[in-house]
Every structure is written in structure tokens, then in C-alpha cells.
Assembly symmetry: none
Homo-oligomer: 209 residues x 4
Amino acid sequence: MSVAKEKRSRIRDAIREGALQEFARNGLAGTSTQAIADAAGITKAQLHYYISSKEDLYQEILGHIFSEWRSLFFISSSGDDPETAIRDYIARKVRHALEHPEFSRLFVNEMARGAPEMAEHWDRLRAATEEASAVIRKWIAEGRIAPVDPLLFQIHMWAVTQHYAEYEVQTRVLMGVAPQAPLDAGRITEEVTQLFLIRCGLMQVERAA
Amino acid sequence: MSVAKEKRSRIRDAIREGALQEFARNGLAGTSTQAIADAAGITKAQLHYYISSKEDLYQEILGHIFSEWRSLFFISSSGDDPETAIRDYIARKVRHALEHPEFSRLFVNEMARGAPEMAEHWDRLRAATEEASAVIRKWIAEGRIAPVDPLLFQIHMWAVTQHYAEYEVQTRVLMGVAPQAPLDAGRITEEVTQLFLIRCGLMQVERAA
Amino acid sequence: MSVAKEKRSRIRDAIREGALQEFARNGLAGTSTQAIADAAGITKAQLHYYISSKEDLYQEILGHIFSEWRSLFFISSSGDDPETAIRDYIARKVRHALEHPEFSRLFVNEMARGAPEMAEHWDRLRAATEEASAVIRKWIAEGRIAPVDPLLFQIHMWAVTQHYAEYEVQTRVLMGVAPQAPLDAGRITEEVTQLFLIRCGLMQVERAA
Amino acid sequence: MSVAKEKRSRIRDAIREGALQEFARNGLAGTSTQAIADAAGITKAQLHYYISSKEDLYQEILGHIFSEWRSLFFISSSGDDPETAIRDYIARKVRHALEHPEFSRLFVNEMARGAPEMAEHWDRLRAATEEASAVIRKWIAEGRIAPVDPLLFQIHMWAVTQHYAEYEVQTRVLMGVAPQAPLDAGRITEEVTQLFLIRCGLMQVERAA
DNA sequence: GATGAATGAGGGTTCATTCAT
DNA sequence: TATGAATGAACCCTCATTCAT
């Protein structure tokens, strides 16, 4: 019984994983259930035994991504000092973008479609963002960082870090990194961190030569 | 004669426009020729009279985007001083992202697929980027801006400005702007400009309160 | 005026010629009006100005072939002696098969379809064949040739000679003749003639070695 | 299980049979998958579940015909005496032409197109023909038959017997046989056999009256 | 006459989903 | 559960023919 359950669970994971890859690559409409079944190593008929429809599977995965991101994608409101919070956030986010680019790709694809499936998630996103904005505003009020637009500051950090997932191919071309080789996470994290720490006065610009 | 030519030209434009919208929304595979025809206000058979195939139309539009971008998307190597060059670049790019978000959306979608149709364009992109990097390096060498990684500096400006096109829906939600209302281009341009000018020492951080 | 007429006539000939080639190659259903127009060196719209429909053009060509054949394809009932009549017939037919194989190909293709368009021609064909049979029967009655089945005798001459048009490709392969090089008409005519002359006692078998 | 397999096998046979009929009638280009599906008594979508493409199905059938013919269409090199070998060959071939005329029709249709799909079969055909030619040459050398051109002798036997399949409609008209009634196989076989036996001295011409 | 444009029907094929076993 | 088979709707595209200029 437990063995059967475990197998079922393994198949479900394989489906989620395969579907994520395929949806991220080709979008909802551009992905065939056959492709998902192949990626999961099962037959198409078997796939339809585990899912109710392609759309539902897509929805489920979107929700999955969303919940994973809530922990990852917002400046923590824990007691960290601003610099630590920002450094951690950027490092975490860059690492995630390089290791799991499919998440971002599926996400941006959904945005391109006008995010019809996201309606139910917007409230939670807005709330989490507002929470982080409050933290930033507090930092500003306490004189711990220079004044910034809290919302746009977050959006820009998000934008820059996401970019490495979404434009991986282009970044490889521009940085001269071969398809399979890893991108230089250190160089990226360093430069991104500087950009935002300097912006809010937590780091000084190097003197010009 | 001229009337006929004009009509033909109008139809061709309608096709390009409609196809751009649809491809940007649903990608190559996810877009049906019926949808393109509808968007262009013509019949499917008529569409196929004007194009040779969906793939070719896609390619043509991709090339179109690419050539438009060459003028828009790189820091000009003209004699501008660094601040003017950066300000202009960001303003131009933000405006474009807000007015023609489909361009970026089609582009990021193509990236997600691994950019199979871009092969022929990479060389030109790399060359243009390298040219801009040379300009930035010169600025650094001349002590006109603080040292930055020239390539990543460009990538990040690109990332932040593109973001407003790609994540328009989300941005609206977070900024509380209704679907049809315009986003606050001034606020965005201002904050983005500050981010990058401060980074390279061309603007000072406001003193914390 | 006469010049215009001549041009029109030239176009009509080009259409017939082109259509014959195409129909012979790909059959009625398998031939597109575009292909015919191309072969005739005109536009598709222009073609439809000259013909009323693809089917009608096909019919016309079939009739054309048929009338050309009436003179070619039956043993002449003129006063020739049997040997001359048979020799002439075979020589004429082999030459025609090698020079205008399209005729036979279109014909056999029509047969394969059940010859739905031939209905009106059958009577004339049967009459002509019967006429020739009468000649043969007379020859037999007069003791000028050995007894043969007059109808089958004709059918077999027809079959063997047609074959060189219909199976030209295969014959080339078997005889080792390159695609553009001419088939050995002399060898073929000689052997075919012997076959039928020997059959009706007008030529002796070579003694076995 | 076995029932399912049997059903599948029956469907496959129905497809092959239906496709053969349709292809023989209208050629590759002129045959629609709908027509094949109808002939096989299945839906178009079902057809495409069993075949990979129309072209592949055509190829498969062509190969099928070809392999069936290898045993049928060459003078056996077994120890038969010449007369038996020739008599058997003709009888076999006439029977086949009358019973399975579609084979020949598809074949001749393929020839008309220039036999683009036959490339891979030519070698085997040439080899088999050459083998039979060797047998005939041996017969001649041994004085068992009169000298003939071995290749053309084969071609002509082939031509005459094929004819009854390819021109069945015309033959019916000329012989006055109603569409469904059987052709007189005996009369045909007899006359064809005489033609070739007489040619090679294995039978005497009847004395003229 | 000639031609670019248009169109309704149909071409081959794929697909998400269901069904029977 | 799992899987071959089936299906109706769609998909991309071509075609014979007509129309307007």
C-alpha cells in the first residue's frame, strides 16, 4: 500500500517536473500533453489518469511556483540589518535564477499572456510586497538607508535577478559562456549587489581612476 | 494602382501588427493562423496569400524587432557625455517598453524557447554590445564614471527597462494602476535613472533622513 | 487582329502542351492548375481565362489524343500486304511511344481510373478495332497469314508498343540507358516486329544453334 | 488480447487494401486520406493513428507489391524445361493481372511519375531480370529455344500480361464483356502463350487455310 | 486580355481527451 | 492502474475558381 502510494507520488512529481520544463519552454498552448508525458516518462493516457486537464495541471504548477516564491522573493522582515537583508535577498535570488530558470520562464510567459490564471494570486503578492515596502520605509525613516521608492526598489531587484533566468541564452552569448558551462554566479551577484547597495547608500562608489 | 498598392500595404501592416500581438501573447506554437487573421481583420486564406508560412512570418517579425532595437537598445557612441548618454538611453528604453511592450514579450518568449531562431542575429548583438562596452570602458579610463563591469552594467539597464514591458500586468497590480490607465512613466524613468547614475558616481545618494 | 489571334493560338497550344505533360505525369487529380500555368508560361488567372475548368481541359486533351491516335493506332485497311501493314504499324507505334510517351501515359492513367471520361469514345474505338479485325480475318481467310485471334493480335501489338512509353523509366534501368540518352529504337522495333511476324507465319524462326 | 490483436490486424489489412485500390485508381497525389479511410471503413483520424503519413503508406504498399512480384514476375530458374517455364510464367501472370489488377495499375502510375519512390528497388529488379536472362541465354546456347533477345523477350511477356490489368476497361469494351463479368482468361492465356512459344520455336504456326 | 487578390472547400496532420480492456 | 485505440475539433496550408481593376 505504502509502496503503491510512493510510486504514485513519484509519478506525480515526475509529471510536475516534466510539465514545468515544457510549459516554461513553450507555454501553455505550445506544450502538448504528449511532450509532458514523454518528459515524465509515462504514456499520454496515463498522464490523463493523473491530471484532469492540461489547463488544470498548468494552474497547479503556477500555484506551486507561487508558493515556493513567497519565501524566496521578498525581503525578509526579520530583524536583519538592511545590508544583510539585501545581500541575502540578491544572493538567494541570483542563485535561484541560475539553478531553476524554468520558474521564471514560466512566470514571464504567463505575464505575457496577461496572466489570466493569476487573478487569485495577486492579493497575496500585493500583500507580501507591501509588507516588504513597509520594512524599507522603516529603514528609511530610521536613517539606515537613503530614501528610495520602496516599491520600485523591490521591482528593480526582482527585474535584474529574474533577467538571468529569462535571458540565459542571451547572457551566455554576451558573456561568451558555452551552452552547458555554468554562468559566473559570483561576478553577477557581486555586481548586482553593488548596484543596489550603492543606490541606498550602504556602499560607496569606487573613486574614479 | 497606387490605391491598390496602398491597400496591400495596409493589409501587410495589419498582418504584422496582428501577428506581433498574438505571437507576443502566445508564442509561435501557441498562436494559430486563425488568430493572426482575426487580429488583422482578414480571412485565414487571405492571410496565407500574403505570407508563405507561420514560421516565416514569425522570423520576419523577429528580424523586424531586432533591427528596430539596434538603434534603441545600445548606449550611443556619439560624443555625448556619460550622464546624457545614460539618461537618454533609459528614457528611450522605458518609453519604448511602455508603448510597445509586445516587442519585449515576443523577445523574452523566444529566449524561453532557447532562441532557436536567433542564431543569425547573435553576432550583430554581440558586436553592438561590445561597441557600447568600449565606450563605457573609455569613460572609466578617463575618470568620467566610476568603475563598473561594462557588460553587466548594460545588461542590468536592459533588464530593468525590459521588465516594465514583460511584467506590465504585475506592475499594474503592484502600483495599483487600472488595466487601461497609463503607468507613471515619469516616476519609473526617474527612479531607474537614479539607480544607474548613482551606481557610476554621476549622482549623489540623498542623505538619509 | 491576326497577330492577336496568333498569340491566342500560341497560348492555347502552350496550355495543351503543358497540361498534357502534367496530366501524364500526375493524373487529373494530382495536377494543379498552377502547375499547368507554370508549364505553359502563364499565370493561373490567365489560364482560367482560356479554359473553363480543369476537368474540361483534361477532357479536351483526352479527345485530342484520341483523334491523333485513330490514324496511328490501327492496322491500315489500305491495300498493303500483311507484312508491310504489320511492319509499318509496329514501326510507327514504337516511334510514337518513344517520342511522345506522354500520350500513352495519360491514356493508361485514365484507364486506371476506370476511364470515366472515355465513354463517348468507346464506340469509335470499337468500330476502328473491328474494322482492323475484319482486315486480319480477310488475310487469314485468304491464307496470307496464319490463323490468329484478330482482336487479341491487335491488343498484343498495342500492349507491347505502348509498354515502351509507359515503362520508359524501367526500360531504361533494365537496358542500362542513361536518363537523357535515347533508347535503341532499332533494336526494339526489330524484336517486336519479329515477335508478331513469326506469330502469323510471315517470318521464320531462326534455327536453334 | 488475441482478439484485440486480430482486430488491429484486420484494420491494418483494410487500410492496405483500401489504400491500394485508391492509389491504383488515382495515384499518390490524387488520393486523399479521407478516401483511403472511407475505403477502409474507418475515420480519417483513426487512419492517421495507424499510419505515419500518406507518403509512408504509399511507400509501404509499393514495397509490398514489389516483394510479392519478385516471386511472380520472373521466369523461374528452376530445372523446368523452357516450354513449361514459359507456360507457367504466362499463366501465372495473366491470372494475377486479372485477379489483382490494382497492383499493375499502381505500378504503371508510379512509372508515369518517373518512379521517384522506386530508386531503392531498381537494383533488385535488375538483378532478378539479369538472372532470368542468363537462364534464357543458356536455353539458347543449348539449342532448346530459338535465339531471342533475352531482355526484350522478358519485357514483352511482361508487357502483354500487364496490359490486361492496366487496360482492363478497354479490353472489356473491345471484347464485349460487361463490367462485372469475368474476362475470358483461357482465351487470353492461350493466345499469349502461343505468341511467345511460337516466337522461340517451341510451337509451330498453324498452316494457313 | 491580363493580373493581383480573394475565398470556400478541402488537403494532410496533430491534439486533448475518452474509452475499453 | 495502465495502455492501445478512438474521436471530434482544430491546425497549417493548398487549391480551383472568381472578381476587380
